[in-house]
């Protein structure tokens, strides 16, 4: 994920940012966030991405109440039809309303994106913090494990898990999350390793605070910036993975719909009905676009140095 770090260097105002960061300590924590928010607001693309994502999420949440049709409702007499007044985005080969299918699909796709990322986040942050905090041998061992995990063919493992334990949605979250956490762990560990040597942590240790409290109260809040940035960049890769799996028929199963599944179905009949491919594809691409722009924008705004790690 280090590809986007270059943009930080050329971004205007990155020097004032580093000033803001060097002044960052416990009391001034809020000023960094206000600062970051001001900078984020200046980045039009990131803001547009954020607005798109928020509206998409809201729409996905209320879909059962606002969807024009039911998602499995078929109109076999109609069959596939081009976009019209009754069906804004047309219908698929079984006469199901495409707009409705996409709306319901976004529920699944976004849910996979968010939940799988949450799994990755939870494991990665805890693992990284513990590893960085303990240091020494434990750290070395824990990072060696992460290195080993990096060398595994992950997509293959996700497919393997899906084959063995059946294609259920919950497992899909877990499998994808389990695949995405090592990078997060690495980033967090790098940050914690730096924080560990700072006075306020040493003070906390000297005061006799338990490790658990130090980690939860002092360390994790201070690495929140990089965590937020990396989370925004993990969601698109997770959603991509879901689309991959569903496209291959190994992810979400019909009659449920997800964007990957809709694209896969659209690709089958694209010669006669190209809109069945183009509309779901457009939604997926726009979402990935927004997430990437928002992630890059947040990175510029929060300038996590560890993201290079």
């Amino acid at each position: 994920m280090s590809a986007a770090t270059e943009t930080v260097k050329s971004a205007p105002g990155s020097d004032e940012l580093s000033r803001a960061q060097s002044g960052m300590d416990v009391e001034q924590g809020t000023s960094l966030w206000t600062d970051a928010w001001i900078r984020l607001k200046r980045n039009r693309m990131a803001l547009a991405g954020g607005i798109f994502l928020v509206s998409l999420t809201l729409m996905a949440l209320v879909t059962p109440w606002i969807a024009p049709y039911t998602y499995e409702g078929q109109d076999l007499q109609l069959g596939a039809s081009a976009p019209s007044a009754a069906h804004w985005l047309g219908t698929d080969t079984l006469g199901r309303d495409l707009l409705t299918r996409i709306m319901y699909g976004s529920r699944i796709s976004l849910m996979v994106g968010f939940l799988a990322t949450a799994v990755a986040l939870l494991i990665g942050v805890l693992y990284g913090t513990i590893s960085g905090f303990l240091g020494g041998r434990a750290d070395m061992l824990m990072m060696r494990i992460v290195d080993t995990l990096y060398a595994l063919p992950f997509i293959i493992f996700v497919i393997l898990l899906m084959v063995i334990f059946g294609r259920n949605l919950l497992l899909l979250f877990m499998a994808i999350g389990a695949v995405e956490w090592p990078t997060m762990a690495r980033i967090v560990r790098g940050q914690v390793l730096n924080l560990r040597r700072q006075e306020f942590v040493e003070a906390a240790i000297a005061m006799g605070l338990s490790n658990r409290k130090i980690i939860l109260r002092h360390l994790i809040p201070n690495v929140l910036g990089p965590i937020i940035v990396y989370t925004t960049l993990t969601i698109p890769s997770v959603m991509l993975l879901e689309a991959f799996l569903s496209f291959l028929g190994l992810g979400v199963q019909p009659p449920m719909s997800s964007w990957g599944l809709l694209i896969s179905a659209g690709a089958e009949s694209m010669e006669e009905y190209p809109w069945l491919l183009i509309f779901p594809g457009l939604v997926l691409s726009l979402t990935l676009f927004s997430l990437n722009f928002l992630g890059d924008g947040l990175r510029d705004a929060l300038d996590p140095k560890a993201s290079k790690d």
Binding site: S10, A151, P153, A243, F247, P274
Partner: protein
Amino acid sequence: MLKFIIKRFAAAIPVLLVVTTLTFFLVRIAPGGPFDTEKAVSAEVMQALKRRYNLDQPVYVQYFDYMKNAIQGDLGPSFKYPGRTVTEMVKTGLPVTFELGVYAMIWALLIGVTAGVVASLRPNTAQDYVPMTMSMIGICLPSVLLGPLLVLVFGLWFEWLPVSGWDSWQHKILPSLTLGSGYAAYIARLSRGGMLEILSQDFIRTARAKGLSNTAVVFKHAMRGGLGPVISFIGPAIAGLLSGSFVTETVFQIQGIGRFYVQAAFNRDYTMILGTTVLFSVMIVFFNLLSDIMAVWANPRLKFETSKGAR
């Protein structure tokens, strides 16, 4: 240098061992045996089948037998296609996947490096924004979408190129573009970043002050160092291309390893799944190793840092 290589090789062995062992036992605990058919099979037939596939032994014996054979390149018989061995199928699929990966890499390097270098020459102008926006589109247009779109436009609407198969050179254009585009986008960003860093250094200013032409500065001086990140990305990228061609091979119906793997996943052809997983791991580990060695060879200081493999 030799010591470094040996050390890295030694570190790779446990990784492969873990993958193989994990996969072996995962596959063993999977529900639904390979011989589950609608028809009831008599006990003797089942017994014979099990003996044929070495399943009548205790699990640990099976495991050691499998490992022994795997090291010698024998990945066992296919459960689904009687009479064919996994090694045989791999032998037919691997060259195709490899060829596809190499072409995709060539596309990715051609497009990516050009776009990145062009963008880095005038940062924050249109010359920067246009290729970088293109690269963002490349990242956000996943192969599940790009593949079908290319087929639709160039194969079905214009009818310029064939839409499936792997025979003539025309067949190879669309699949390798599909597979390579994401990597091209990433390489564009890497080379832009690397070039920007180099172009701001003193020796570049000196070169310009000497009166060297812009071409000489860019091609002779800046690119050598500026493309460092790209070079160290090639190894992981090849590993990724080889083990990431499922979608491309499925869209274009190419009989490569990726397609075999997906089919094996559907057919629950466990020996095939096991064999291909092991193969993929070996390839990933090998190419990561290769790129580590290349990176250290180019920059010996790296020897003391831990590597950051890609998946």
